[in-house]
Symmetry: C2
Subunit: 211 residues, 2 copies
Amino acid sequence: MTSRQFSNKQDMERQLPPTAWAVLGLLSFPGERTGYELKKWADASLRFFYWSPAISQIYAELRRLEALGYATSRRSGPEEPRTKRRYAISEAGRAALTAWADSPEAAGPAVLKHPLVLRIWLGHLAAPARLRALVEEHLARTEAELGQVRAALARAEDNAEWAHPRIALRWSELRELAELELARAMLADLDRLTPPQGGDPADHDGWPGPG
Amino acid sequence: MTSRQFSNKQDMERQLPPTAWAVLGLLSFPGERTGYELKKWADASLRFFYWSPAISQIYAELRRLEALGYATSRRSGPEEPRTKRRYAISEAGRAALTAWADSPEAAGPAVLKHPLVLRIWLGHLAAPARLRALVEEHLARTEAELGQVRAALARAEDNAEWAHPRIALRWSELRELAELELARAMLADLDRLTPPQGGDPADHDGWPGPG
DNA sequence: GTGTACATGTAATCCGTTACATGATTCC
DNA sequence: GGAATCATGTAACGGATTACATGTACAC
């Protein structure tokens, strides 16, 4: 059982990856949850400021957390394989999570991997119209994400228990807004470099060529 | 040689990870470079909008690129182990990179992992003064990064060859500025939640307690 | 002659994903 | 009874890091 990837308890305790704390954090809010529910919640909210692990990893983290005594699980009904398993944080888990959350160590630097900007950075190899189209797609996606953040914010109940998650979501909302601004400014920079030919900016590839 | 992690050429060509394109992209600008130089360059500029791979990974990517025929290398002087090796992009490499950069596929969604916001999200477990201190540290780090972006921008020569990297850096500059705004807004949200006690906001931990 | 930056590389290990397998529950 | 969604899990693999090993060049 417990898959051989975690050799022993001492090794695990040394320092858990942020993902483990994030999953334990999900569990720290009231209620018992299944891995599946945790994944949906991460998709709907955690991912806007941190990241949403693959479902298989959530299950792996839950097993690790349980092996460490930081979480407990129980099956609803018969103890059979592949039946629903609900997890809850344990006292030890809450203590460990609190120690982590309240530790004086600075939060690490944010990691940003922005494939769009990577493509723009190599823009000398692409057609200007292509670059503009990529930015437009990014604008559309960002607007959709903004809608999702606002939906999450609307769902977050207005009581003290959820005050901090609301601040994180509010930060995410402002971030999506800033992302839109950034993309628009980049579009303007691109236009300044190679002014778009007359006509609908999306319906042609006309362009002098790279050589 | 070429370490067993890359089994054969077909496997590799299927689709290179973005990191490989980023390294090849570094090579696409004029000049021959060593892995070490690439790492410094990535630290000084790529990392602000994408990410800076570990030096050992840069060497691994360079070996893969060479195995694919996308890059060539030569040793300056004697062909001995651990002497300087300079890489250059090949014609095939430039063609492959161009095909990637100019492809109609949308750039993937940006990945953001923001440990600070993760800690704030779990703020119900920490002392308010702790959270404020975390945000202050983030502000200081962000200001330092802004300076580094501006330094990179100042170094980027003002000629057509570097126009797109300049746009990427300009985007990064605006992003750092937005990051400062976001952090300040979060600080205001935190203050609204638990108004800071009188006195210098940095010199006490006084706080009613979690229970 | 010592420390620092330059420079390359290997080994071990972990993080995380995709693909796959399996089965329960719900709704039409 | 069939489809969609809920739900859990394994296997294989690749991406990426850290720690370590090794050596050169140069400034003080």
